[in-house]
Amino acid sequence: MNQAASDIALVASDYKSGLKPVWCPGCGDYSVLQALTKAMASLALKPEDVAVISGIGCSSRIPAYTSTYGFHGVHGRSLALSTGLKVARPELTVICTGGDGDGFSIGGNHFMHACRRNVDITYIVMDNQVYGMTKGQASPTTDPFWDSALTPGGTGVSPFHPLVIALASGANFLGRAFSGDPKGTAAMIEEAIQHPGFSFVQILSPCVTYRPDQKDWRNKVRPAPVEATSDPARAARRLMTDDGFNIGPLYRGEREPFKLNQNNSSTETYDFTGQFEV
């Protein structure tokens, strides 16, 4: 981006790199990119102070489509990259992104532990209930009877509930958005970025290629009937009976975020010799 740009107000398109996405026409992730860039513009974040981190998957291609710093890492490890970056460089805004396979299957352990650790990062998962990139296998959020070449007739395994796990693990902000509503999604991302500690946003983002049935989502989603609570037990009760289509902020926690390293002065010296004297 242009150096002068930071003096004038930026709009969503300033947060796009201009690189043409590899996504299929109609993929929900286009709208997520739109929403993310809009949220950054609303918050007037300096692109150079933001890092968008991801793993591997269609959705994980998003960093390169923004004009911020980015890191397209390996499959499943985006939260670990994000944690290291944020702890080492607390002044940056760190946004971790990816898919349901990346985040909840191979990356499931980091998801749980990132929630617990409560480092001040925002995690955006584009949930399409499928492995898009590898051409259509079941992900943890896939319906047990969804047929695929790898698991004919379905996995038979009940779906993973990311919001419940995040809550039980200690995430500090939870929300669900639908990519078909980029405005609402942008607002949600905006709030998530601002909320201290670990924020998690599940975005229902249809895969038009391997899950054409998800066209239906548009008719299923609805605003969550009640305001987000800050009481974990109440949030748990709500989320456990939630059918997956309530949209909006669902939990605003008040946990103390992880204590970040606030002093990176590497010019200081310290003599350790004394420790090794006999």
Partner: protein, 576 residues
């Protein structure tokens, strides 16, 4: 102690005992007092299978000049008791010149020990200890040994005060009294030639473990962020750094596993903060995928791998050099990176600092291969000099239009933008990419980025840090890591025998240095490749990577029995 038993410049002593017998305390105190007196040397330990408090032996070598070699045999084995000693008897070689000191009431010397033919001296250790209130047999043992190596009373009592002081004056006094009785018991040893010892070189010693030295070196090199998952025998690197880092504004995060720790370190380094993690074989295996990410995305990161016996969970408390292959070849795809190895406890300091320098300068991962032997050994060494390697990570200092993070440069190194810099925004990628970082499957991009990533490593000037080359001759002992000590001592002994042997100990295992190696091998007709692996990994590595103008032979053995200088001497003498 006779001349045959211990040279006047070196003495090796093992103290063994079952859980609770306090053999390690005896060994550590003996060692610290000797170090205070100016001795050099190393203390290692061996343990039984119990999680904690089982049988143990402290193995001490004291020398009047610096060395990192073990000796061939132990001059003295003092057994506080004999319980389960067979579990590590093979690690304490004795000869008929050795002295075995044991408790007269402790039963017969086990066959695994006595078959050495060593002189057996049975002393009333436990009984004598009982003369003192709260007197413990291990303090009798300390007294006996202190007398044998002529350690002054005063230094010993000062040390006891320092180490046991928090247990109260009474405990200290009881120990001192017990030690005194031990000293008296030593008078009954057949031949104790105290006066024969040379004075150690003057100057103050520092006592440090390889793991501490590695942590310290890394911090000197600039590491300010560490991600940690504990594993034996690497945990102490992390534990030492966790207290040290905050003193310099750095930090450490405990990760949920090694997949996380390596990625956290890469994340921190991507953010411009030199970062490190430490692990051992099983953890390194888990990290290789992401080390490959650091290669492709060109993010510096340091991985200290403290080797233990393999394969699999293997022998977590024993040393081996068998992670050489995985460190060099264990990344999928063609993934050029740096592999270094310290040669001794104190060299962990230098090599760790240098490894950070290399990783940062070359924007590549550096794996430093230490091992259990040097990592957990305590060494009495000279205080280190200050070193400054100068250049650091090449960063973009000002944003540019159309910035190319992976620009194809002559050196292969491309200026790296650090988040926060306006106009430097780019996306780091593990997919193959064009110079801007945009993913590309085109042959031209792949070829130029592969060349660049290799070139930056091969073109760099590693000065003469790449290896230690000592002596001259038509026979070379080629080695690396902690077998360097034994190889060096072997070369010295061979010279005494009139055989000119050259030592080539390699610190930089990857990238290879063909020209420097060719120069080092000039005139060499035979090379013996010495290493502690079962499959001669280093020998095969040398053959694969270097054009050898000479005969080459491997002298290799799996752990846990370390390689001793006399064995190398014999190999060379018998090589017709």
């Amino acid at each position: 102690m006779t001349q045959e038993l211990a040279s006047s410049r070196s003495v090796s002593i093992a103290v063994a005992g079952s859980g609770g017998a306090g053999a390690m305390t005896t060994g550590n105190l003996l060692f610290d007092v000797a170090a205070k007196q100016g001795w050099f040397g190393t203390l290692t330990r061996t343990l039984g299978p119990q999680i904690r408090g089982g049988e143990a032996a402290a193995m001490v070598r004291l020398t009047t000049a610096p060395t990192s070699s073990p000796d061939d045999f132990f001059h003295v084995l003092l057994a506080i008791d004999w319980k389960n000693v067979e579990r590590f008897a093979a690690e304490i070689p004795l000869t008929s010149d050795s002295i075995i000191i044991s408790d007269v009431d402790g039963g017969d010397v086990p066959e695994v020990i006595s078959r050495s033919g060593a002189k057996i001296v049975q002393l009333p250790i436990a009984k004598t200890a009982k003369q003192i209130k709260q007197g413990r047999p291990n303090m009798i043992a300390l007294g006996i040994l202190a007398e044998m190596v002529s350690l002054p009373e005063r230094t010993l009592s000062d040390m006891l005060e320092k180490k046991l002081g928090r247990k109260g004056q009474e405990a200290v006094q009881s120990s001192l009294d017990t030690i005194k009785l031990g000293r008296e018991l030593a008078a009954d040893l057949p031949v104790v030639a105290k006066a024969d010892f040379e004075q150690p070189a003057p100057g103050e010693r520092m006592v440090i473990s390889g793991n501490e030295a590695a942590g310290w070196g890394a911090i000197k090199g600039g590491i300010r962020f560490v991600a940690a998952y504990p594993i034996t025998p690497a945990t102490e690197v992390l534990e030492w750094m966790s207290s040290a880092l905050p003193k310099l504004g750095g930090s450490l995060v405990q990760a949920e596993d090694e997949l996380s720790s390596i990625n956290m370190a890469i994340g921190g380094s991507y953010g411009g903060i030199p970062s490190l993690t430490a692990t051992s074989g099983p953890g390194l295996a888990l990290m290789t995928e992401s080390i490959g990410l650091a290669v492709a995305s060109e993010v510096p990161v340091v991985i200290v791998n403290v080797m233990r016996g393999g394969p699999s969970t293997g022998l977590p408390t024993k040393s081996e050099q068998s992670d050489l292959n995985i460190a060099i070849y264990g990344l999928h795809g063609d993934a050029p990176h740096i592999v270094t190895a310290p040669m001794a406890v104190e060299d962990c300091l230098f090599t760790a600092q240098w490894s950070v320098h290399l990783a940062e300068s070359l924007q590549a991962p550096a794996i430093m291969l230490s091992d259990q032997f040097m990592g957990q050994a305590r060494a009495a060494v000279e205080k280190p000099e200050e070193i400054d390697f100068g250049t650091k990570r090449e960063v973009l200092t000002e944003g540019v239009e159309g910035y190319e993070r992976y620009a194809v440069t002559d050196s292969g190194v491309s200026p790296m933008a650090i988040p926060g810099l306006p106009g430097g925004q780019y996306t780091a990628d593990g997919l193959e990419h064009s110079p801007t970082g945009t993913p590309s499957t085109q042959d031209a991009h792949h070829a130029e980025q592969m060349d660049k990533r290799l070139r930056k490593l091969t073109e760099f000037d590693y000065a003469d840090h790449w290896a230690a080359i000592e002596g001259d001759g038509d026979i070379a002992i080629v080695t690396w890591g902690s077998t360097t000590g034994a190889a060096r001592e072997a070369a010295e002994r061979l010279r005494e025998f009139g055989i000119n042997a050259k030592l080539i100990a390699i610190r930089l295992l990857s990238p290879v240095q063909p020209e420097k190696m060719a120069a080092a091998l000039a005139g060499v007709e035979k090379m013996l490749v010495v290493e502690q692996t079962h499959s001669a990994q280093f020998f095969r590595y040398v053959r694969a990577q270097y054009d050898l103008p000479c005969q080459a032979k491997a002298f290799n053995r799996a752990g846990p029995i370390i390689i001793r200088p006399g064995e190398i001497v014999n190999e060379i003498k018998n090589w017709s």
